[in-house]
């Protein structure tokens, strides 16, 4: 059983495909990473997997059931997303931001139960942002904000987490902390993660499985990170001259 399955899917916006013949699976308890040049449709894959875009053709299944057959309530009881859109707040503490992630559990006026408070605290501690709980969200650095948004994404206790470049604003040290937290999360909660990332050099350590999307449109390769992340292939995928990968990342 796969948690996420794309089978020969055409995906895109308003009936115009961005990618065709997309097929891959993401398994339970693992991190599946999408990599590839800018503008190849990684976000489109993520949005379709999250049910925010309807597939134009082909099959997209969540837990072996067609994604279209889920009610929003059912679907987002399983899936939690962390997309790239920035959140503009004025008077919100980090706790306020994370609290909104408990949406489907809270009562009609959004009041928190003891259980809600406990999960919020646990999630924030797991990501290491509990100390920031009373701080003004808008005044945080981009990196801190991204970690708070990760806490918000896991506070709904999802089975599947879909993330679009979640670590892009973090510095080197914070990136490592972030991916450590993510790996810990997957292990502890047996979660499935579908993530797009630009940190190609870190993919080997983070992801169990890699899906490469090339500029020519479509999935170029998929498989274990150890096999795919090698200089020659990266140079080809990202359209670099021979030797450039080693020169900068080696």
């Amino acid at each position: 059983m796969s948690e996420i399955l794309f089978k020969n899917a055409s995906i895109g916006y308003r009936g115009v495909p961005v990618l065709r013949a997309v097929s891959f699976t993401a398994e339970k308890g693992g991190i599946t990473a999408l990599i590839g040049p800018n503008g190849t449709g990684k976000s489109t894959v993520l949005k379709t997997a999250a049910g925010l875009l309807k597939p134009i053709e082909g099959r997209v299944c969540i837990r072996d059931r067609s994604i279209g057959s889920y009610s929003p309530k059912e679907l987002y009881g399983i899936i939690s997303v962390m997309m790239t859109d920035r959140v503009k707040t004025k008077f919100m503490s980090c706790h306020d931001v994370v609290r909104v992630g408990r949406y489907r559990y809270t009562g009609i006026f959004g009041t928190l139960t003891q259980a809600d408070r406990r999960v919020i605290r646990e999630s924030m501690e797991l990501i290491g942002v509990w100390d920031l709980r009373d701080r003004d969200y808008a005044a945080l650095s981009d990196g801190q904000q991204q970690r708070v948004l990760l806490a918000r994404a896991i506070v709904s206790e999802p089975g599947i987490l879909i993330m679009d470049e979640p670590a892009s604003f973090l510095d080197m040290g914070r990136k490592i902390e972030f991916f450590d937290a993510l790996k810990g999360l997957v292990k502890e909660k047996d979660m499935t993660v579908l993530i797009s990332m630009h940190e190609v050099e870190m993919v080997k350590k983070v992801a169990d499985k890699v899906i490469c999307i090339s500029a020519s449109g479509g999935i170029d390769a998929k498989g274990a990170a150890e096999e795919l992340i090698n200089p020659a292939y990266m140079e080809e995928l990202f359209g670099m001259k021979k030797g450039r990968y080693e020169e900068y990342y080696g």
Binding site: A50, G51, L52, P72, K73, L75, Y76, G77, I79, S80, V81, M83, D85, V87, K88, T89, K90, F91, M92, D96, V97, V100, G101, Y103, R104, T106, I108, F109, G110, S156
Partner: protein
């Protein structure tokens, strides 16, 4: 200090301020009334004296109107701001109040000519249809332009067109009742009595309740459409509901008090800054109370500043409201307004 405590103190202060404004409003006017007579008149509903009739039939209905309709306007503005995810929005500035005004004026003049008696519910219905037409126009424009400032300019233009047509209609409708119509079309809290209050109080109360029940979703929606959708919220249904509740509230205000400027746009902003919160469950009642207090205060000035002649309410609300809106825009100069 604890946020909850601060909020409680602020709510209590706001209610006390409103009570104080109510008392001052009762006492102010061309006929002086002694404070001592007031409890008797209010508690016993004593209409036997001239003072009793002035308080119970003139001043009190006017106070109730400013209280409920002022609050309704602020709430309507807050819901529009939530809809557009932008604090620079309100029923007056987007031309929605003027659309309502135009349709009400057409209906009134037609009813006068046909010798037909209008009732309050028909006025509200006409105003509601008028605001929906204006809102429809604003939404159509908003699909084409991404910039809120262009949208607002369009709204102001729609407002001018509707006001010009309203004036034309009022000018050509030759009737003695036109004096009333003219006052109403400029905005005033003097036009409605107790019979009207029986209509607008339940509508406004229903609007507050609806807003409170939507507050949880409003908060999630503030984080963007896509995120709200990923929480399982039906975006389309929610947006339709927001527009309908907001339009019912501003249409009710326009039907009874005419167009009142700047309350809807400025008061939610003041509420946010005063309570230092973005939580709709706090801002909904806070905006409402601030709208009430603001309209009571402005109405007091409107009728007492140059007594016995009266200013239109929008003249006064603009004097205080416009600077607040300008300061908001300056505060957001680095962002895409």
């Amino acid at each position: 200090m604890d946020r909850k405590k601060t909020h409680l103190i602020l709510f209590i202060s706001l209610i006390l301020a409103i009570l104080l404004l109510v008392v001052i409003n009762i006492l102010t006017g061309s006929v002086g009334i002694s404070v001592r007579d007031i409890p008797d008149i209010l508690l016993k509903g004593d209409r036997s004296s001239a003072e009793g009739r002035i308080i119970l039939d003139i001043r009190l209905p006017r106070i109730i109107e400013a209280l409920f309709l002022g609050g309704a306007l602020a709430l309507s503005g807050y819901m529009l701001q939530t809809f557009f995810l932008n604090p620079i929005a309100g029923p007056y500035i987007l031309g929605i109040s003027s659309g309502a005004k135009l349709l009400v004026a057409i209906l009134m003049v037609w009813a006068l000519k046909a010798g037909f008696a209008m009732n309050s519910l028909m006025l509200v219905a006409a105003a509601f249809i008028g605001s929906l037409i204006a809102t429809g126009f604003v939404l159509t424009v908003s699909l084409r332009v991404r910039s809120m400032s262009i949208l607002i300019v369009c709204g102001v233009m729609v407002g001018y067109i509707c006001s010009a047509v309203t004036e034309l209609i009022v000018a050509f409708a030759d009737d003695s009742n036109i004096v009333n119509l003219h006052n109403w079309s400029l905005g005033t809290f003097s036009a409605a009595g107790w019979n009207e209050a029986r209509i607008y109080i339940p509508i406004v109360a229903a609007g507050i309740l609806a807003a409170l029940f939507m507050s949880k979703t409003m908060e999630a929606y503030r984080f963007g459409e896509e995120y709200a959708e990923s929480l399982g919220i039906s975006i389309y249904g929610f947006r339709v509901l927001l527009i309908i509740v907001s339009s019912v509230l501003s249409a009710t205000v326009t039907a009874f008090a005419g167009p009142v400027s700047f309350v809807g746009i400025a008061m939610p902003h003041v509420a946010g800054n005063l309570f230092r919160s973005e939580k709709p469950l706090i801002i909904i009642p806070a905006s409402f109370l601030l709208g009430s207090a603001f309209c009571l205060f402005c109405d007091l000035l409107a009728r007492s500043l140059f007594a016995p002649s009266e200013l239109s309410i929008s003249t006064v609300t603009a004097v205080f409201g416009a600077p607040i809106v300008i300061s908001m825009m300056i505060g957001r100069r680095n962002e895409n307004v």
